[in-house]
Symmetry: C2
Subunit: 341 residues, 2 copies
């Protein structure tokens, strides 16, 4: 039986995670869940973000189901660096997986696009680049202040995520992989990515490939998102591109993500892309679709392909059946999806 650590977190995180859990229980009865109280409330109470003993306990689970972390009462960066990014780094979650689809029942802000026309996955590197936290500040708060940020990239780190992206592209219908970087400006890291990409491509002759600069890719993401199948890119570019991909497929309401350690040496984290939304928290009106789709990614990662597919189909059916403008109750959405399974 799968053992899942639940970090429901703050704001609507707790509400949507309850529904994701409900759905996993419906499709995989007997799954064990252990709740962990982490996030803004925990930090404000204890002054700690992620005690080592808790992290050790998390490490003993098969996966982590996360809601959303963050509250205006906590300074920016504290929970992000101390919890979300710490888990990505410590648990070697080097594949940050973000599918974007234009689902039936959802509307793209782009004119004339029909459901089904956008269907892409961004494979974002999760453990390197500008996210490593290297750099420093000198002469703070003086006119002489300087601040640096260092992007660290290894052949090891780039190769493994690029290979993962090729393998995913290989399993999809269109078998197309786009590398996104900024090789004309970031010539050092860009060259490492481009050379590694070319080397790994030789192992996947059936996958067609393409390179785009990040600025051009962001433009195409708006003018022609249909062109993308799988995208592989670095940590920061992936952060940006996946939010645009979410926007053109109708917003973050359906945006799921996984921070994955493919070898399953460490637990992977699955969470909706949206935040804790303090403005609507506590009212039971948050849409749990993205959280439930994240649960579907979790099931897939744990080898339950069939259950994963059934869950995402049930979410799609639920969303497609929504009457335009009808108000939504978080728990009812979860109930309907669970009942359909």
């Amino acid at each position: 039986m799968a053992r899942i650590a639940v970090v429901a977190g703050d704001g609507i995180g707790t509400e949507v995670t309850a529904e994701a859990r409900k759905v996993i229980e419906a499709v995989l009865p007997g799954t064990e869940f252990d709740d962990y109280d982490l996030g803004a409330r925990f930090y404000n109470r204890t002054g700690e973000v992620l005690p080592q003993v808790i992290e050790d306990e998390l490490a003993a689970h098969d996966a982590i189901l996360l809601g959303a972390i963050g509250d205006p009462s906590v300074p920016p960066g504290v929970l992000e660096r101390g919890l979300l990014l710490k888990l990505r780094f410590d648990f070697d979650q080097y594949v940050n997986l973000r599918p974007s689809k234009l689902w039936p029942g959802t509307t793209s802000p782009l004119a004339g696009l029909k459901p089904g026309e956008i269907d892409m996955v961004v494979v974002r590197e999760g453990t390197e680049g500008l996210y490593v936290g290297a750099g420093g500040v000198l002469h703070k708060d003086t006119p002489a202040e300087i601040a640096t940020e260092e992007s660290l990239n290894t052949r090891h780190g780039v190769e493994r995520v690029v290979r993962d992206a090729f393998a995913r592209a290989q399993r999809r219908e269109r078998r197309h992989l786009t590398l996104v970087h900024k090789t004309n400006v970031l010539t050092k890291a860009g060259s490492l990515w481009a050379r590694t990409f070319a080397a790994v491509a030789a192992e996947f002759p059936e996958v067609t490939t393409e390179y785009q600069h990040v600025d051009a890719a962001c433009m195409f993401m708006v003018s022609n998102p249909q062109r993308y199948d799988v995208i592989v890119t670095d940590n920061l570019f992936g952060d940006i591109i996946t939010d645009i991909a979410a926007a053109v497929t109708g917003g973050i309401g359906m945006a799921a993500s996984g921070s994955v350690n493919p070898e399953r040496k460490y637990p992977s984290t699955f969470e909706p892309v949206h935040g804790s939304a303090p403005d609507i928290a506590g009212q039971g009106i948050a849409d749990p679709a993205a959280a439930i789709l994240s649960a579907s990614l979790l099931l897939e990662h744990l080898g339950h392909q069939d259950e994963a597919r059934r869950v995402s189909e049930a979410v799609a059916a639920e969303v497609a059946s929504r009457a335009a403008g009808a108000s939504l109750r978080t728990a009812e959405v979860g109930d309907r999806v669970a009942a359909a399974l």
Copy 2:
């Protein structure tokens, strides 16, 4: 009389620049133009990108009118780093100015947006950040390879561009300025930007301010671009955001830019955001609108506010008058705009 260096460059660069020059001649008769043959052809012929003597000559001009640089025959990065970025750095062009408007006669890919509804300027820092070229590669082409890129940010560099952006916001109707960064991950550079922004804000009490993470800003750029008035951001984020801004206002056909040294100690460069488009070069069918709008920014920078306004209004009128689907001749567009002045 203004002395302008013309770097028409490659591909459609030469074609659209001829029209921009025609328009400047119409509105400021007597302007002196000196042509410089730089870009891919020059590089392929001489093996040099920007000889020091040429750069010294460029430095003696009031401004540089640039077309587009680049050709598949030149490895990526060579002309970008050796010419475009070199001018930005050597001529201290720290304000990279990119207005985006939804003009009458153009169509946004975003559903339901009407001309006039988007009107923003991105003030992108032009001389710091990840563009400085710092970093290196170790153990190249071995499994132990690492590549680094370093983002360098100074209080000096951030403060001057932030102050420029506040001053621009102050002169506009809505007087709203958005800082875009990624303070929750890039905590060192982000903190420098945020603290500097807050300090300069005190000098501009009439400007309302807002902060957004770059990923959220890119999402809003698609879901609600109307919300933006002036945006100030770092070099790389600005590169990305301005391409999205161009995309949501109908593509790069109307996207003008200036790399500006506000003190006019060095010449500023004005160029369309689009590239050299080798695929359509030589056919006389490239739209010179963005190049002519860049000429308008040039005129404004040199203190010819009235002429600048007349040029951009003439371009707007020309674009608005285009029959849907009609084919376009580069020279005719320039002729019509020049004739209208």
